[in-house]
């Protein structure tokens, strides 16, 4: 089966939604070709607004569209969607209680050759602190399409990370997803790996297989939504194991690792280890290089798990 480009899934899903809901709109800031929404423009030329290289204005325009009842999906690289326009998104969309769907593409190391200037390791942390905002990161094309639909159906602003390159499906077509709900991909008795996103969820599954050869039973949760976190699912599985390990394509501070740490400290104190970027800036490189450079791979998850378990 061909591995689809995530951006094509994003665009196709929006086109499908837009056919039956005239409120759906798309905004781009001169990255339409990167996001892949040109197909949307071909079909709905007046419903895609390209504002030029002006992300702050894009956020404001989206707020005005939302105040008039539209549902704008607006995208730019995740670094700009978060760091560059944080106040605009905070005030004009979230504080104003509007319905703007912000998409940050090229999360973390997937920024690749664009390097440190374009490599958002902080976007989830920034977004997670905004009251009421829903923050999610699909892990494959099936969850992406479902979460885009779920965001369209939900009134309120959202932030979604989008890895726009080809990603192999993890889920069967037709699997259902909800905002705020994770998926249990494997049950385990020794370690629970809670992973997020299209880079780290496959690595977590690989790590669980590798741990088996060491006689270690690993559970895996695909978090999918960082906020609100699926606390029930995580706690239910954490109670079965000795160690929880988080895995994210982001700083370990303020992202998934912090969210799970907060949950466990308050409700079920137990050993926790966090795999992710350890307080470093991004840099250029191939995906393989960057995964090794920042420890975002199955090997790191395995090593951290074994050390924590003493096995």
């Amino acid at each position: 089966m061909a591995v689809p480009e995530m951006r094509a899934v994003y665009a196709d899903t929006l086109i499908d939604l837009a056919r039956s809901d005239e409120r759906i709109m798309v905004l781009e800031a001169d990255l339409m070709r990167a996001t892949g929404t040109g197909a949307f423009k071909d079909i709905f030329p007046t419903r895609l607004i390209n504002v030029g290289v002006a992300e702050a204005n894009m956020i404001g325009v989206a707020s005005g569209l939302s105040a008039s009842g539209k549902i704008p999906f607006i995208a730019t690289f995740g670094c700009f969607a978060s760091r560059r326009v944080f106040d605009q998104f905070f005030i004009s969309c979230n504080y104003a209680r509007l319905n703007v769907k912000l998409v940050g593409t090229d999360p973390g190391i997937t920024a690749g050759f664009n390097g440190g200037t374009h490599m958002p390791f902080e976007d989830l942390g920034l977004m997670r602190i905004i009251p009421n905002l829903v923050v999610c990161e699909p892990s494959d094309p099936v969850s992406l399409a479902a979460l885009v639909r779920a965001q369209a159906a939900y009134y309120g602003s959202t932030y979604m990370r989008l890895h726009r390159k080809p990603v192999a499906p993890l889920y069967e077509a037709g699997t259902t997803f909800e905002l705020g709900k994770g998926k249990l991909l494997a049950e385990g008795n020794d370690v629970l790996i809670v992973a997020l996103g299209a880079v780290m969820v496959p690595e977590a599954l690989k790590a669980a297989e590798m741990l088996k050869s060491h006689g270690i039973s690993a559970g895996v949760i695909d978090a999918l939504t960082l906020k609100p976190l699926d606390e029930e699912l995580i706690l239910s599985q954490a109670r079965k194991v000795k160690v929880v390990v988080t895995a994210e394509n982001h700083q370990v501070n303020n992202g998934l690792g912090s969210a799970v740490a907060e949950l466990l400290c308050e409700q079920h104190p137990m050993p926790l280890r966090r795999v992710g970027v350890q307080g470093l800036f991004g840099e250029v490189g191939t995906p393989d290089y960057l995964q090794k450079r920042f420890g975002l791979d199955a090997e790191t998850i395995v090593n951290v798990s074994r050390t924590a378990l003493g096995r």
Binding site: I49, G52, A54, A56, G60, S68
Partner: protein, 279 residues
């Protein structure tokens, strides 16, 4: 503009000015300067230009106002209360805990407020979104925006300034409240707007300029803006309003310290009484 209409507008503006001073004095502190400089334009818009329904503030086909300089909320609240959007008694709750009238405009709290503002520089972008939605929905209403002169320093305005003509948003009519004072000094001292008319014209806007306290001049400028907007090559409009910060209150008028100042009851009462001593 007939003299009778002008006289009515002046009387209405006097009431707006009275309640603006009174509202801020009730609390003892507030953004008096920038509130008083926009009293006349707000009065003209809500009493003469805008299609709005106080009993149905969310009426889809209404004209909208984005008060991008959101700190002038007290002046707009006075207009909205006088127009019946909410009870007059609300005015005395400005900035009290739990109020529906915060210092900066909030679309979720106050009936008649069309956009949440307060972080300067964001209103013109929102107005572009409102105007694009109207075009798509085939609604031929007007989107008004008021930005401050100090606020004009914010770069996001100029992103929106490029977009509006490009998207042919001729039904945006924007105003710059050019009172020549910002928080730290005169606009010329802090960051000069230079040839402000030329800047907007170069960005592709229909530009006009008039006395922002003179009803006939503003009315004519708006009429010109609307006439050109309806042409095939219509442009969004920017009307530069020459105004006086703190206008109409002797204790504040034209004073650098009037951006956000303390006002005691006696000072306010003297200023309000003086409004009615003028002809």
């Amino acid at each position: 503009m007939e003299q009778g209409i002008v006289d009515n507008l002046k009387a209405q503006a006097r009431e707006v000015r009275k309640y603006t001073i009174d509202t801020i004095a009730n609390l003892g502190v507030g953004h008096i300067g920038g509130s008083l400089s926009v009293v006349e334009i707000l009065t003209l818009l809500y009493y003469r230009e805008m299609r709005v329904k106080a009993e149905d503030p969310l009426w889809r086909e209404r004209d909208k106002l984005v008060l991008s300089k959101g700190h002038a909320g007290p002046a707009l609240y006075s207009v909205l209360a006088l127009k019946g959007f909410f009870p007059m008694e609300w005015l005395s709750t400005l900035n009290r805990g739990g109020t529906k009238l915060p210092s900066h405009c909030d679309r979720n709290l106050t009936p008649g407020i069309d956009m949440t503002t307060g972080s300067l520089g964001q209103g013109l972008s929102a107005a572009c979104g409102l105007a694009i939605a109207n075009k798509l929905d085939g609604i031929d209403n007007w989107t008004y925006v008021i930005i401050g002169d100090g606020e004009t320093n914010e770069g996001q305005n100029w992103e929106a300034a490029m977009l509006a003509p490009h998207q042919k948003l001729s039904r945006i009519i924007a105003f710059t409240d050019y009172n020549k004072l910002q928080l730290d000094g005169t606009t010329d001292q802090i960051l000069s707007l230079g040839d402000i008319e030329g800047k907007w014209r170069t960005f592709g806007w229909h530009v006009d300029r008039c006395d922002g306290h003179h009803f006939p001049s503003m009315s004519c400028a708006i009429a010109r803006a609307k006439a050109q907007a309806l042409r095939e090559d219509g442009k969004p409009s920017m009307i530069i309003l020459d105004t006086i910060k703190g206008k109409g209150a002797a204790f504040a008028e034209g004073k650098l310290t009037n951006h956000n100042m303390n006002i005691d009851r006696q000072t306010a009462d003297i200023a309000i009484a003086a409004l009615y001593e003028e002809k």
